[in-house]
Every structure is written in structure tokens, then in C-alpha cells.
Amino acid sequence: MISDRLKRTILSELDLDEFDLRDETVAGEVPGWDSLSHVRVISAVEAEYGARFKTLELLKLRNVGDLQALVNRQAAK
């Protein structure tokens, strides 16, 4: 389940009003979310949650659900 906060952060960085982000959504399905903007999206998520993700954690992300899980793990620390 993708939280409203994460969804808002991603869509706002991509300048999208609305998009149905689900656990299984991959970046390639979302307008504007390509390899070049991916780093911007991650930076925006880090800024929103005051978090710093490790390189290895970022390389393991497969979909938006994985990103949500990563955010949740950081929050639990």
C-alpha cells in the first residue's frame, strides 16, 4: 500500500497531478519517470522523510512498493 505522503512526493517531483501508484507500479509506467529523473525522485523522497538511502538499497528497488518498504524501514529506525 502506497502512502499518500510518498505518492504526493513522487507526483510533485514529476509534475503530475494524478497517477495511480500501486505497490507493483514500476518507474517506466509513470510519465516522466525515466532513468534521468529517477535520481531527482529519490532525492525528493529523501528530503521529505529526512532519510538517506544507501547505494545498495537503491539498486535493489524493483517497484514503488519496494520504495515504500524502504521508507517504512527508515522511519522505524
Binding site: D17, V26, A27, G28, P31, G32, D34, S35, L36, S37, H38, V39, R40, S43, R52, T55, L58, L59
Partner: protein, 481 residues
Amino acid sequence: MGVVAAGALPAVLAYPNARLHPDKFIEGLVGMTRRSGLDWILTEASLEPVVGGLARGAKSTIKGVILPLQSEWGEPNTVEPIGLRGSDPCLLQHSSGTTGLQKAVVLSHDAILGHADAYAEALHLSPDDKVVSWLPLYHDMGMIAAFQMPLALGMTLVQLDPFQWITAPVLLLHAISQERGTVTWLPNFAFNLLADRVHEEELEEVRLDTMRLFVNCSEPVRSDSLRRFVERFRHLGVRPEHLSACYAMAETTFAATQTTPGRAPVTLVLDRSSILNGCASPATERPVRECVSSGKPIRGCELKVVDETGVQLNDGQVGEIVIRSEQMFTEYRNNEEDTRVALRKGWYFSGDYGFTLEGEWFVVGRKKDIIVVAGKNLFPEDIEDAVNLVPGVLPGRVVAFGIDNEAAGTEEVCVTAETELQGETERKALRREVQKAGMRIDITISHVHLVSPRWLIKSSAGKVSRRANRQRILDGELTKG
């Protein structure tokens, strides 16, 4: 190398990525096989289901798919040398594009080996140098500069995965530091990405002081990007004299000009309008443009600037750059017409605008409407064709062009399309569909402007003019009310 030794002509093609629609990928590949005359695909098992159909379909020229990693490796075959000559073709380099605009550049053994020697001389390379690269091998900078040069000269190459690098740019700095790298090639946007997106805490124990050369190439070199890069990594050992710039293209194998190693590239502050008017002059009070030199011709290359009639221009005058090179491509494969247009009496007409001043070469623009996003050349025609098919867009009333994104250090794709739709909800949905049309051909459309019928300016030839409409958007006509 095995393919070359067997007397065949290899071409490295881009791997399909998640964004590109599989049908579009196959469509592009079919077109490419027919134009370039490709016979066999060597790939890995996981791609067989995607490309296997090509061998069975009548549309492509592919005779079969070979999976070398699945083969039983017996005793090596003794291959008789087939008596290759230096002028024989060595490899094919494809330009980007999906709708028939890509060309297959044929390079000979002489061109590739000659280029390796001449470019190594320009960069003062030795076998002690160590190249670190994240560049894909289907791009000429990745294939020729970062791969063939180390191969020909016996230098060590540390190759990173392009997808991993773009996800975590710091990987390049870690590789340089751990492997004590000395040379890397990067498109301009990578300087911005590294300067802006790497966290300081990821740089503990990273040292970049083994580096001699960060070569900026494959998209216009921006002085601001170079400045930011040095400021950001000065504490790790990066100095202005480690920065370098190069003007290169597949048709001259790779490099045509290169700045001198150990000296920061020369930068000129010029009057912006003087460049547009064809004669570069030092800045006055008016808007300025900083131009970074791409250096001097490498050995075996001769450049001149010509006007529209082919007459050579003087120092400081802006015109088309034409090149004569000992490392020139042989031809565009199966494409006599384009070869004839590009290659005239031994001179390659680059389609790039530039000027020379005191022996330094400056590239300032392009004759062709190519959009360069993160070092990748995109043809506006491909984007316009895709957007034209979107219901709600008036057919033929679409233009695509590039606009600068200073912060990212590269261009972004902008599409302007005419529509009769009036409602805000409908227009919002149409914008989304236009973006999706771009996604299907793996192109991110960053800006979509919808305009009313007959808004777009046509050229005298009756075609919608990319330049005039781009200028209209940049002048803010849409926001003037």
C-alpha cells in the same frame, strides 16, 4: 573480436529497457536489420523470447539467434586467418532513432586503429592509464573511446553498468577511487548529476587525485557544469586542469578535436546576438554566452568552417563545421544517398555550427534539429510521428524540439500540438496521452503545450517550422494571454 575474426561485421545494439514498448522495440529492430542488412543476433537466453520471432518473421533480415553463453565450449576451433585488409570494415555504429532515420556508420580497421593512436597522442595516454567508464557500448563514446581505445592500447578498463550508474552516480567515484582511475569520458549532464546528487557521507575515503582527465563530450559543453564539478570535488583532488573537452562524432570514428591535457579548456564570454548573426565578438553590455573550446584537431583531422555555399570562412565567423580525416567512416551502410550528402569530396559535412579562434574550435549549435538529451541524440521526427497518432491531436500539427535545462546541464523534450479540445479536463487527459506516446518510444516528453488550430507557424515550404515555433514558445507567447 571473434565476430570480426570470422570476417563478419558486428554492431552492438541497445538492450530493450522497461520503458520501451516491446512491439516498438521489435519494430525498430526490424527496420534496422533491413536498412543495415543484419543477419544474426548474438544475445543472452533471457532475450530469446523477445527477439527469437525476428528469425521466423519475413519482415526482418535476421537468419537466426545465437546464444553464445548457452553453447557447449569444446576445444577451440582453429580459425584460418581470413586475410583482412586495413580498409575492410571492422564494425557498424548505429545512430539513435526509431523511424528510419538512424544510419549505420561503417568504420574500417584502419580508421579505428588510426584513431586510437591519434587520439591517444592528443590525450597523452599510455598503457599506465586506467579508464573508468559507465557508458553503454552502443554509444560511440562508450564503444570507441572507453572500449576500443583501451583494447588497442593495452590500458586497463573498469566498466560499470549504465543502469546501475544512473541509479547511483556515486558508483563512478567509488570505482575511480578504488581502482585509481586516470581517465573517464562523460556527457555534460553527468557533470551536473555528480555535482548535485552525490551525498557527502558517501564520499568518505574517496580520493579523485589519481585522475588526469574528465573528458566532457557528446553534448554541448557548458562552462557552468565544469565549474560546479570542480567546486564540488575540489576537496577530493579535482582541479580545473583535469577538465577536458572533445568534439566527436561516429563519422570520424570518434574525436575530431580535443583540448590539451593538463590545461583547463579555454572559455570565451561572447555577445550572444553576435553568435546568432554569424560573427563571434567579445561580450559587451548585452546578453552573453559562455563558449567552451573543444580544443584543437587531433592528428589526421583537418577542420574548416564554411558558409552555405561551401566557401571557407575566417576566424570568428560562424558557419558549418566540415572535417577531413584519416579516420573517416567508409559509408553509411546500404545508404548511398545519405553518404553522398554527408561526404563531399572527402569532407564530412557535420551539420554542426561553430567557429575557430586562435586555433581553438568552438561548437555553438546545430543545423539539424536533433535534440540531445543526456548525450543521446533524438530525432524530432520520431517524436512528432508518435504524437501525431494520439486521438485529439490535429494530424500533422505537431512540433517537437529541445529546450535547455540549465540545472540538469542538458536539453529536455518539448512538444507543441494543436487541438480542438477546449475543456480543461480533456486537455489534461490529452497532455497525459501525449506523454505516454513518448514513453512508448522510450522518450520522455518533459513539456507539452496544447495550442488552438492554426497556432503553429509554417515555413515557406508549407511544413510546420520547429525553429520558429520553438522561438515563439521561448518568447513566452503562450503565457502572454
